[in-house]
């Protein structure tokens, strides 16, 4: 293979610029790491996130529309001959049905949030998810409420079935929530049955792991996992999920406990930012969550059987 070394001209200006930009980048990284959430770079980051939030919302809407269009195209090509005659007559009706179905699903989700609010006697503010993380390494969502609505960094955020994450930065009219499934998340947790404490952590593979549980504590599939409130990072007594798998036996210090997350990022649409809550309905929510998981499993099974 011929190598063109002669063409690789040396440009002193270019190298000086390279060094300047690299040093500047490292200075920014160091400054960012040293400052707290009120620091200049964190504030600029929050401001930029707030500015791009509407664009993310457009993207999410366009994404949903594209998905719908994809389905429509798929249906059209699958049964083109049969549907051609009926399509025009039914177009308006189909649109109406689709819209009604959308409203019905939204009402269901909002009802679930209201039930959750009642169950926990939550003092908080509801919000819509308007954007998702622009990079692969952070599992975050942007919501449409911010410091003007009383949202502060560190507040717990709940979906219809329980805790989904924590506010990590706020702007006047939006906030960024780090999901509990993010590897950088860590929620002090406890098992409802045994009151044994641990830490629930996310992972890159999307699973939640319950760590630091004493080796002699008995853990069974189906056990309810709640926030313990230790360290003050999450409001105490909120449902995180159910234990779905325990690798290892009681007494094994290296056993791995997997907890089912409440929601997946793609399903998140409405959430509640919790200012304060009293846990009085965890069991009913846990059974709802179990029901939801079972129905998801069975639908997946049916899909797989087809």
């Amino acid at each position: 293979m011929a190598l063109n070394f002669k063409d690789n001209e040396k440009t002193p200006t270019g190298r000086a610029l390279l060094i300047v930009l690299l040093v500047l980048s490292l200075v920014l990284v160091a400054t960012y790491s040293r400052e707290d959430e009120t620091g200049v770079l964190h504030s600029v980051q929050s401001a930029v996130q707030s500015m791009v939030a509407p664009l993310k919302f457009v993207g999410a809407s366009a994404g949903a529309a594209a998905e719908g269009l994809g389905d429509a195209v798929e249906d059209f090509t699958a049964t083109e001959e049969t549907l051609n005659a009926l399509k025009e007559q039914n177009a308006a009706l189909i649109e109406l049905i689709a819209q009604s179905e959308e409203y019905r699903l939204e009402a269901e989700r909002l009802q679930a949030l209201l039930d959750l609010k009642d169950a926990y006697d939550i003092d908080g503010v509801s919000a819509r998810v308007v954007g998702r993380s622009t990079d692969a390494w952070n599992q975050t969502v942007t919501i449409d409420v911010g410091s003007e609505d009383g949202v502060e960094t560190g507040l717990t955020v709940m979906g219809a079935y329980g805790v989904i994450g924590q506010v990590i930065s706020t702007a006047p009219s939006s906030a960024t929530v780090r999901l509990i499934t993010d590897p950088q998340s860590g929620a002090a947790a406890m098992l409802q049955a045994t009151r044994a404490e641990g830490v629930v952590r996310g992972s890159l593979n999307g699973l939640l792991y319950l760590e630091n549980v004493e080796a002699d504590v008995q853990v069974a599939v189906g056990d309810i996992v709640l926030t313990s409130g230790l360290g003050g990072s999450y409001t105490r007594g909120l449902l995180i999920g159910l234990v779905v798998s325990v690798d290892g036996k009681q007494g094994d210090s290296s056993r791995r406990i997997v907890v089912s997350p409440n929601e997946t990022v793609s399903n998140l649409e409405e959430v509640i930012v919790v200012f304060s809550a009293k846990s009085k309905g965890v069991s009913s929510l846990a059974s709802q969550l179990e029901g939801a998981s079972n129905s998801q499993d069975s639908s997946t099974q049916e899909g797989g059987d087809e």
Binding site: M1, N8, L22, V44, Q45, V48, K56, G63, R132, T134
Partner: protein
């Protein structure tokens, strides 16, 4: 195409890549892998215009990427500046006029940048194993970026490719 028009095309491409990163990328993630339009674009520009590709654009795009996300500000700008500089310099040396070299450059550089970005996050407190970081993020994201880069490559070759220098042209 004259040099100012090439630069304009590169600038417009940068704005489009930025918009795609904000609007499209979060909605087309596959198994947790979010495509990095900005990385793919910067590398394609470095390959298409190896002698004239600047460093300021990757720096600004990287900075915007960091500011739009929740990671340390400066990490992606550092990596993009370094990667585009290295890619353009190496490509000048190894370019043999086939599609293999741009492809190889894209594969290697995207993988290096994605993993280096992961290392940045690991050093700033992300508690995952290096193996998980590689298999669950680095590799799938890099493959996704390569696909994007291959889509961008012919477009940028058409609109932003630097004209061949007379001496090179005459030799070929």
């Amino acid at each position: 195409m004259s040099e100012p028009r090439e630069s304009l095309a590169t600038l417009i491409g940068a704005v489009v890549a930025l918009l795609l990163q904000v609007v499209v990328a979060p909605n087309v993630s596959l198994f947790g892998a979010v495509p990095n339009f900005i990385l793919a674009y910067c590398l394609v520009v470095a390959i298409v215009r190896p002698r004239t590709a600047g460093l300021v654009m990757p720096f600004i795009l990287g900075l915007m990427f960091d500011l739009m996300g929740s990671s340390p500000v400066g990490a992606m700008s550092f990596l993009l500046v370094l990667a585009t500089f290295a890619a353009s310099r190496i490509f000048v040396v190894v370019d043999n006029g086939t599609l293999f070299m741009p492809l190889a450059m894209l594969v290697i550089m995207t993988l290096v940048v994605e993993m280096a970005y992961g290392l940045f996050l690991l050093s700033s407190g992300l508690e995952v194993s290096l193996i998980d970081a590689f298999f669950f993020r680095g590799l799938p994201c890099a493959l996704y970026d390569v696909v994007l880069g291959l889509l961008m490559f012919p477009i940028m070759m058409r609109f932003a490719s630097a004209p061949q220098r007379p001496d090179m042209g005459s030799l070929i």
